[in-house]
């Protein structure tokens, strides 16, 4: 089982398309820093005597729901969504399934490899954003006052507020773990459906359509907003007029239930599937 999981992960991650991670994260980091620096120059911020540091670049990039939704999340879906379809098209599934003791083992390894890929992806993205932020913002070992005590008008825009004294390294580690978990659960939806649909062009359209819909039908219906990770996990630090934040434990429970349900659905489909 471990061998199978390892093999699936290697197969999923060591592909040329993963090179897209570098420009994608660099781009969103640059856009976010540009946005933040614009505010820094703004007289209102000058008035409050706030300054920015590297963690604003890092956290701001991951907490920007537009970048997160349409770049970070979609790119990950694009990277892993053909996990099953590619195997079927290339006959690889014949070689691997034949070596497994049962189909559930194969499916479990597939699911686990998506989670592992999610962790690698988020970690890599965090490192890229960190170094890009380092180019424009000063390095400090704590969050800036902009992050811990933003001007009141900024809160109404729907941004984050980090409790003073929070260790940025611990916070980022938690952010990586949670983001990896959430994007993996989201990517599992098209991967599971690909067991039935088997159309390489159709499967990525499902999450894309979902994101478009959830963007324009933004509401408090959390089940529809599985993609808005920061609002789930860091709800306590996040203020928004459009989405009700969830506590960390409830969001974990919510995502776990979705993940388990997808595993069972995949296992059921698999028991009736011919490759």
């Amino acid at each position: 089982m471990i061998g199978l999981w390892w093999m699936e992960t290697i197969k999923l991650v060591f592909r040329k398309r993963w090179l897209a991670v570098f420009p994608a994260f660099a781009l969103v980091a640059f856009l976010n820093i540009d946005y933040l620096l614009g505010y820094q120059l703004n007289y209102q911020i000058q008035n409050y005597h706030l300054h920015l540091n590297i963690w604003d670049g890092v956290i701001g990039t991951f907490f920007n729901y537009l970048y997160f939704r349409f770049v970070i999340l979609l790119l990950f879906v694009f990277l892993v969504t053909d996990s099953v379809i590619g195997d079927i098209a290339s006959n690889w599934v014949w070689l691997t399934l034949n070596r497994c003791s049962n189909r559930y083992q194969w499916w479990t390894a597939k699911v686990a490899s998506v989670f592992t890929a999610g962790l690698i992806y988020t970690l890599l993205g965090m490192v890229i954003v960190f170094f890009v932020s380092l180019l424009s913002l000063p390095y400090e070992t704590s969050f800036s006052r902009f992050a811990t005590n933003p001007p009141s008008f900024f809160i109404t825009l729907g941004t984050y507020v980090i409790p003073p004294g929070t260790n940025p390294f611990v916070f980022c580690a938690k952010l990586v773990l949670y983001t990896a978990f959430a994007i993996s659960i989201f990517a599992l939806i098209p991967v599971t459906l690909s067991l039935i649909l088997r159309k390489a062009y159709l499967v990525p359209m499902i999450p894309f359509g979902w994101l478009i819909l959830s963007h324009f039908l933004n509401s408090n219906r959390t089940y529809f907003q599985i993609d808005i990770v920061p609002r789930l996990v860091y709800g306590a630090y996040f203020y928004s007029q459009v989405a009700r934040p969830l506590s960390f434990s409830i969001s974990l429970l919510y995502l776990s239930i979705v993940g388990i349900a997808l595993w069972f659905l995949g296992a059921y489909i698999l028991s009736r599937t011919d490759f």
Partner: protein, 296 residues
Amino acid sequence: MKEILKIRSLKKIVRRKPILRDINLTLSEGEILGLIGPNGAGKTTLLKIISGSITATAGSVQLAEPESGIGVLPETPALLPSLSGFQNLQLLASIRRKAREQEIREAMKTVGLDPANRKAVGNYSLGMKQRLMLAQAIMEKPKLLLLDEPTNGLDPLGIIDLRQLLFRLASQGVGIIIASHLLHEIELMCHRVAIISNGSIVREVNLQSSEQHLIEISVNSRSDWDKLVRWAGKDNLRPLPSKDFPRGILNSELPVSRVLAELLPAGIAIESIQRAAINLEAIFLECSQLKDGVYR
């Protein structure tokens, strides 16, 4: 010989269309069985059901030693293009953990590949990919090998190597099933052949049988052919495709000299005549005749 595979009353129906109908087949240790049939006859489906990639609608597939695993060679090479050949096999071997590095190297050398070659598989020729696929099929030393068009992409030397390798594996007790379109290769490689048409095994032919009464004969012209048909009777003469002289297989217990002695006085101009081994091509044509202009 001990039976290593027993297939009983196997059926596969997809969207109400029967793909396989009541397949019964056995394979013994050290036996090489050929599966031939027109495109879409159900050869690959049968191999996939045996290996577990496809579930059967009814019937059973029994393996004598399921723990020894099945080696599979798909029709098209399925490999990870960015990894080397050795890395590809390492990854596949990591699933069962039966083949260690030494066994992987041996398998690669057996099929004529260098395990130390670090070239990415994406840069391999089709023949090299096919050899690598063969290596992955044999590296875990399975007791049953399923090969779907194994000569695809192989050059003549590769085909000869493959034939020798299969004979060697068979002599070690490995049962092998080969699905192929190349009748000549099947004739050379297999002990027994099953002809599949429209999802059914329409005929099984033992290529090692010594009780043959077949004579291959070619005549000078169409009128000679007509005379020959009248002499032999339509049921005893099967025509074969020919680009020059009319040619066919005569089913007769008479010795060749006696046939000659009867045909020459009848004014039939014979171009060639010889005792024939089982002619798979003729049998295949007979089993896969066109019906109403389409394959049966």
